[in-house]
Assembly symmetry: C2
Homo-oligomer: 329 residues x 2
């Protein structure tokens, strides 16, 4: 008796901001799991801004994918048992069959299941590795992080606070700005829609910025370059302001010459760079969650059918913290 | 018995292109050298375009200065002997008295004295350090260098050729493009005024670029980012296209998002970063000059009195390669 899965497909390549009409949910009959394969029912899935970039390269009709947490319903692998919880790369799927080697068992006692898609998972590792490895952040340095109320940004700021740093963050609403200061302990925060970034950076970091954790591009990058200290570092995690460019692209910073006399480094990265450090990261993060040093929020949409709305909502800032979809219990 | 020096002074701030009437040669009685001071007679001096910018900030009557090579006539320093050849910051002076700490001894057996103002000096160290240290260039990689026929650019390309690399260069005239290929051994070269950078990069480097040595900014940086290979590096030495910005600045590259998935690093630098490696650099460069692997050109004016003409000649392109003035033997 094979299983029918509901799977979201890319109906057409999004033009500019993604739209509900770009996505199509189809019923697909799954094969029986073969040797060393598992059948999994997904419980939570993640939607992330990076998926927008990927969609440019996916032909219409492609199955969507990404990080999810599920429960094993059937297993032909000696390493995995029915009832195990597993991290897997098949978000946007209600169920899937795949090789046991692509899933990773999770300990639901160590941290809540959805946290493995956020603070304990990819966004957490992105924040930790991007700040400490790519950004080479040193204890006590001054950090600026944009999109600071997002899943990655709020962790970046909190890790720098744990390391004794001064932290300035930007967000897209006054409410979020208050959250950064009141809930996450940022030293200064501003609303990038209404405040001038350079003025705010000078206010929040009178002596300049050592590390700018770049999530957005545009005028905030330009302001950060101007206000950067010598030997500053800019780990480039994302440039959300540029993701939905089509036709005439958003111009880049007009002041890259700032890099020369200030020896500034800009370096792009994706989370795969830190895969070998995942165990070390999870140890530290679990400790910080238990001690209360790291706090996090989740916004959870209900039901697989709401996944496109959750994804689209990322670009209008509908989420507080990690944006997730709850598929099943 | 003190020495009389001839020293060029700025008579008036140049308006537009500098003019002979802007300069005045005066006889100045030098003091006796004090403790740890030296008296030096200059033999060669450098004129450089950057001096023009500096003159805007120098009050009329100021002594001119810059890199020169001289011979020690008297020394009260235990580290420096009469007859030593020294690099010093007192170009435009026939003689000077200064602290021994501001001069650097040179080995005239290792390379010709005037080369210490060019290929063995600041432009050489800039090229060598920017490519091999900041750019982390590895043997056999594919290099693109802009302003490739300049003092720095032509060395960058030649060093990469010595290291077994593939080298693409851009310059501002068809004659210079031919020089890059015929005299400096570049694999491909193009005229950035008439050719499309991305088309030319795809032609010259079908498999992409590992290192882009950035001298100019603008459309060439954008094309390089697009055509960069994963883990590519962009040492930023200069951005000539942006230097004359006033009012509305030239926009930066619209495709900095390329850095993310390709793990690209951009890093600004100035030559002072490599000061600790100067000896290692000079050993290597001297070897390459002797073996003929590195070629360079010099244009030498005769006599201190010709220094203003040499300087003015920079702006009408009278020089081939490094522009120098010979003061004494």
């Amino acid at each position: 008796m094979s299983t029918t899965a509901q799977i979201f497909h890319l109906k057409q390549t999004p033009q500019g901001l993604p739209n509900a009409a770009d996505f199509e949910l189809r019923d697909i009959q799954l094969p029986e799991p073969g040797d060393n394969q598992v059948l999994v029912e997904n419980l939570y899935m993640s939607v992330d801004p990076y998926m927008r970039g990927r969609m440019r390269f996916m032909p219409p009709g492609s199955k969507l994918f990404g990080a999810a947490v599920g429960r094993v319903l059937a297993s032909n692998s000696p390493a995995i048992s029915i009832g195990d919880f597993v991290l897997n790369p098949h978000s946007w799927h209600s169920h899937f069959v795949d090789d046991a080697s692509v899933v990773t068992q999770l300990d639901p006692e160590l941290a809540p299941l959805p946290s493995y898609l956020g603070v304990m998972g990819m966004p957490g590792l992105t924040a930790w590795g991007g700040l400490l490895i790519t950004g080479a952040y040193q204890d006590g340095e001054t950090l600026f992080v944009s999109a600071a109320s997002g899943a990655v940004g709020s962790l970046v700021g909190q890790i720098a606070k744990i390391k004794g740093g001064r932290v300035i963050g930007s967000a897209g609403s006054d409410t979020k700005v208050q959250t950064l200061i009141n809930d996450f302990g940022f030293d200064h925060a501003f609303n990038y829609r209404t405040d001038d970034p350079l003025t705010e950076l000078k206010k929040g970091a009178p002596d300049g910025i050592d590390v700018y954790f770049e999530n957005v591009g545009g005028p905030q990058l330009e302001a950060a370059l101007t206000h950067m200290r010598p030997h500053g570092r800019i780990p480039i995690c994302g440039m959300i302001a540029h993701y939905n460019d089509h036709g005439e692209a958003t111009p880049g910073p007009r002041n890259l010459t700032e890099t020369i006399y200030k020896f500034i480094t800009l370096k792009g990265f994706v989370v795969s760079a830190f895969e070998s450090k995942r165990a070390e990261f999870q140890q530290q993060m679990a400790g910080w969650i238990k001690s209360g040093d790291v706090r996090y929020e989740e916004t959870i949409f209900e039901g697989l059918a709401s996944a496109p709305d959750a994804f689209i909502g990322l670009f209008s800032g509908e989420n507080k913290g990690k944006m997730l979809v709850h598929l099943a219990d």
